[in-house]
């Protein structure tokens, strides 16, 4: 497997604030990695470092390039949507396509027009005349028409309604993604994307709390719903988190095999959201 992103001891400090603190990880080709973290966790700073928008300490290589120093070269093979409202409001759809076509060697205008024809975005419209959802469709149509190796999405669906959000991800999976591409995505609406991720990474206070393939989450983490005597027994096995739901105790275990918990209550694989809350709370203790 080839590494698309290779980070070793990457740090970025703003004065005394350690936005990213000695972080190491790899992203391999063909993965869809979800980067999850609370506000101010360092997600955006880390993405910016990957995109070459900010300088950082440590060794960071993206597609074999130094993102900050070889940015122009890098941007031929990497795309990003940074926020929903970033397309210039004065530009016409046709102008936008013409501009990207003339500066981007890997952009196919035909492909973009193909995607756009499936939406309600008119080609003679200006961006300011489009709804928020249509602007995202336009941006995604452009991004998907770029033959890039790495796609970075930072809160791409913020402020969109559920129909647009679902469509956005289904387009991304069906029309864009293949084993040669890699996607790095951050979002608050983790439950909406957990089904499409192949890998997940939690970040908090600039540090990585979890970096794992989705399929091994079920092996490493178990959620137990129990009550009474069984709950007391289960607590003895060292859960990493506990909360109450409908009068039952919900305990979360890391690295405890299912056989040991069998018979103590109802077992299931925790949701990413629950796991995230447990990990962040655990890190704060």
């Amino acid at each position: 497997m080839t590494s698309v992103v290779d980070a070793r001891g990457v740090s970025k400090h703003f004065g005394a604030v350690r936005a990213v603190d000695d972080v190491s990880f790899q992203i391999e080709q063909g993965k869809i990695l979800g980067l999850i973290g609370p506000n101010g966790a360092g997600k955006t700073t880390l993405l910016k470092a990957v995109l070459g928008l900010t300088d950082c300490k440590g060794e960071l290589s993206v597609l074999g390039l130094d993102p900050f120093r070889q940015r122009k070269e890098l941007l031929k093979n990497i795309c990003f949507i940074a926020d929903v409202a970033v397309l210039p409001r004065w530009i016409k759809v046709t102008q936008l396509l013409e501009f990207v076509e003339s500066v981007h060697p890997n952009f196919s205008r035909k492909r973009a027009e193909g995607f756009l024809s499936q939406t309600k975005v008119r080609s003679d419209a200006k961006v300011r005349e489009l709804s928020k959802g249509m602007v995202v469709q336009l941006h995604l149509s452009i991004i998907m028409a770029i033959d890039a190796k790495l796609l970075v999405l930072d809160e791409p669906t913020l402020g969109l309604d559920i129909i647009f959000r679902k469509e956005f991800y289904s387009n991304l999976l069906n029309d864009y993604f293949d084993e040669k591409r890699t996607i790095l995505i951050t979002t608050h609406q983790v439950e909406e994307i957990e089904n499409l991720l192949t890998d997940i990474m939690f970040i908090n206070d600039g540090k990585i709390l979890l970096d794992s393939p989705m399929e091994s989450l079920a092996e490493s983490y178990v959620e137990l719903r129990t009550s009474g005597e069984d709950a007391v027994k289960a607590r003895g096995l060292g859960p990493i988190a506990e909360h109450e739901m409908f009068g039952k105790a919900v305990l979360l275990f890391e690295g405890v095999s299912r056989e040991n918990l069998e018979g103590l209550g109802e077992l299931r694989t925790p949701s990413v959201a629950d796991l995230f809350v447990a990990k962040v709370k655990g890190a704060r203790k």
Binding site: T54, Q95, V103
Partner: protein, 305 residues
Amino acid sequence: MIGNQLALIKRELWEHRSIYVTPLAVASIVTLSVLAMLVFASGFAKELDLAIFGASNIAGEGERRAALTAFFVGTSWLFLVALAILTVFYCLDCLYGERKDKSILFWRSLPITDAETVISKLITAIVIIPIVAVIGIVATHIVNLIITSLWVSMKGGDAGLLIWGSVPIFDNWMAAFIVVLASGIWMSPFIAWFLFVSAWTKRAPLLMAFMPLILIPLLEWIFLRTRFFATAVLDRGDAIPLFRTLDFESFFEEERWRHGIDSISLLGHLDVVQFLTSPSMWGGLLVCALFVTAAIYVRRYRDES
């Protein structure tokens, strides 16, 4: 690299429509004024006949040339003023607007360097806007010459002699082209300073750009009793080393016309070699380069979120 520049400059013309709307507005104002003047003059039939007779028979070619050149210079000067105001607002907006509406993140997601982007804005300010203005000047002259000749013919004058035979068109246009282009180069330190402020300021670019230009000479005068900054910076506009003489009054004095028609040449009053060899011009370009570098640096290194 060149392909990117062309795309980026085209982009500037899409975004800043004032680049061609302003010359169009000036052209309309000039044309409407000329029309109003002609309609007004038509009301004085007797005086008009006399004037046309005088212009055709008594006045020499030199006088006719001087009169039309005065009109040409007047309109070109209007364009130059409009161009200056347009350039200030363009420069202050072009790197500020993209940060204000956050589209900078989109522009920076494409494989274009910050240097290419900032340089495209500099080229737009120093080359494209002046060229559009010269096109405006030439078009305005042509339209108004046609209108005036039709009018003169209607009033019984010989337009071929009075208008077309008397106007040194190419001399005037070439001179306008050189003056407009040289003005951009001469004022390039200001243009680059405005670009830098546009890339750097968090708010109120107009205020931030002009405040130092007012405060520094004031403080210098209060504390040092010198006028070094004011002379070097604020008086720069008047000091362009392009003219053989800055004495425009004597240019249109009757005495000069009688020296022969060659003295009515605007081009003859421009000294391009003096301009190109002026240390002050090269010094200005150096200051321009410094501010442009600073603008590129700020766009590249500042964290925008």
